[in-house]
Symmetry: C2
């Protein structure tokens, strides 16, 4: 380049990301240097024009230290302006290109108030969701209407029974889309009505949370339709529709509904401990930035392969102080059973949404009674 | 469940996915059975109501065979109606929840014409992009304007020089968003003008392709603005904005612009060979379904870790017959240099977009001449 030195006046205000890097000290150091360039200029460092691009735009290694044999942590800072207060651009800078390189994992985001100011975060958070549900202290109860293939009438009847039994949050199974056997609009209307009817009988404040996994050009429309039909929350899958679409739904004042984030298609970020994004950052920090009020993830020992350490890390990420961005509910799930309730409560404490799905059907035909048992086991904890 | 047998009239029409599964024969077989349930009913099989849910909604293993020691391929079919002609729901069924389970990889999609009929696919494809660029036969040339931190004027001057030198496609570096030093609207307008000015001098049909990595609620607006400002294509990152958002942009008749798919944030799908989605399916088949006309991915031996086998697989996925869904251009990139041109052409043949970025600046200050050299090396191949 034959450019004069460039002055950008951007030096000084930065955010940081802690990456875990594998290999020898030299390997890991080279990876840290690579991230600094790959996530910013993508340009041969020796060809840069002078001035602020090299000094401010290129990422900077703020600290570098071994964490255990073969693993190093590098904290790398980036100029705030590169992410310019957009979630989509923040994710692009944090992990966009280097997602393609093995041996680099996003461990945690370190975001200053100047950047966090751009994000509303969860509209409800833990306190807001508790207030909406009228449950000030105990762990929250959640289940899903399933299996796929049931009719709207059958799904609505399930929702009715679950609500009568004292479940707080009844969500669509995430496989329910707009199938002919249970079309979206009819399903949402009937299930919302069923839960409302049960609430009038019980005096409780159960919410029905339909799945808003939708074509990009129908996402907002389906959410608005669900709201007017009486939905009490939205189940969103940021791995499918994009994290910023979830943020858009959370921020929309016409909706003003709690957001339940589903992990569909996010698994590849977390299946290998040496790469991807840590459960702490993905299901905790990033879910919060993207507006989730509850973050669903697989609990240890169910149908998936999360460790207890992963689960505790998610819980930490849902509550770590992030300026005004509220803490949200960890929502462990994935093959959970009534028998696991006390285990789960011992891990998460009372600030949790317990999601137990299909196994509620294993306790006989009286679902109302099964749900009451679920509730009692939590209340007596 | 105490439900009567359910008749859905959905049996018979199915699509399939080939999964590669790790482990012993028993392990792999159990994984195949697990996929059948996890991606559909997520419900204890022994509690299902009778009738069509078990017979048709649950996935079915169509074939199961060893592929090499410790690896098996299971072809699993799903009722067409589960994905009900939405890309988002297709991805949800193909890999949603099982993305969270190790040792399962999507190898390829096997989609019948009845399902493909729902997808327009690439609007231009290889033939359409060649026609737009006025390049009937030779490999196409692409570069990116960078580094991040340059002003609009500097970026536009780069674009002008690249276009004068005979590059076919000049794209934004994917890190360019809406930063203060090169705001989106001003950048797009000036770069489009610069390329247009060069085209009037050269008589060529170079296109400028701005990056449309944007907040969800600004994505379409930025694309429409770019179109009216003279952009000749759109750079989209489906890993960030969602595959269905790319599909939406590709399908929009008001835009009618070729789509260049960028791999940002898609890396975790492909970094481990035992999990995720194969490069063939991800950068080939799924990119096509989602409307890309060119699919950018890291070529072997550059800054990333793709093998030659991965690269050849992507190329295969970009052209495998998929009913009316057109073949698209593999666009290998990531640290490519002029010295690698003949290597790349030997791998991909003439149906390729060669993307060489920052290293074009390594050949002295006369970028027009460097681009001419790039072009001549391709024309003389």
């Amino acid at each position: 380049m034959t450019l004069p030195p460039i002055q950008l006046n951007l030096c000084g205000k930065r955010f940081s990301v802690a990456y875990e890097l594998t290999g020898s000290r030299d390997d890991a150091w080279n990876k840290a240097q690579d991230i600094c360039v790959e996530q910013t200029i993508e340009f041969p460092a020796d060809l840069l024009p002078g001035g602020d691009i090299a000094a401010c735009i290129v990422g900077q290694v703020e600290s570098f230290a071994p964490v255990r044999p073969g693993y190093f942590e590098a904290v790398i800072s980036f100029a705030l302006e590169i992410a310019h207060q957009e979630l989509i651009q923040l994710l692009n800078v944090v992990f966009g290109n280097i997602s393609l390189k093995p041996g680099m994992r996003v461990q945690r985001l370190i975001l200053p108030p100047e950047l966090l100011a751009a994000f509303r975060g969860p509209r409800f958070g833990r306190a807001g969701l508790r207030s909406l549900l009228g449950v000030p202290e105990r762990p929250l109860l959640c289940t899903a209407i399933k299996p796929l293939g049931l009719s709207v009438q059958q799904l609505a009847h399930l929702a009715y029974q679950f609500a009568l039994g004292g479940i707080d949050v009844i969500k669509d199974d995430h496989g329910l889309g707009n199938q002919v056997f249970a079309p979206f609009r009819e399903r949402v209307q009937r299930c919302a009505e069923a839960v409302d009817r049960a609430n009038r009988q019980t005096g409780l404040h159960c919410i029905y949370v339909p799945s808003i996994i939708a074509p990009a050009d129908q996402l907002l429309e389906r959410a608005l339709w669900a709201k007017q039909a009486g939905a009490g929350g939205l189940l969103v899958a940021p791995g499918l529709n994009g994290f910023d679409s979830m943020r858009q739904l959370a921020d929309d004042d016409r909706l003003a509904l709690p957001i339940f984030s589903h992990p569909s298609l996010q698994g590849s970020f977390v299946t290998h401990p040496d790469d991807g994004i840590s459960p702490y950052a993905l299901f905790g920090q990033i879910a919060r930035l993207a507006g989730a009020d509850a973050s669903i993830f697989p609990h240890q020992g169910g149908r998936f392969s999360f460790s207890l350490e992963d689960c505790r890390a998610v819980a930490d990420g849902t509550r770590v102080p992030m300026a005004h961005v509220q803490p949200i509910f960890p929502t462990p799930a994935g093959g959970m059973t009534l028998e696991r309730v006390s285990d789960m409560l011992n891990v998460y404490g009372r600030e949790v949404v317990l999601l137990i799905g299909g196994s509620l059907h294993r306790h006989g035909p009286d679902l109302v009674k099964t749900c009451s048992t679920f509730r009692e086991s939590v209340e007596s904890w």
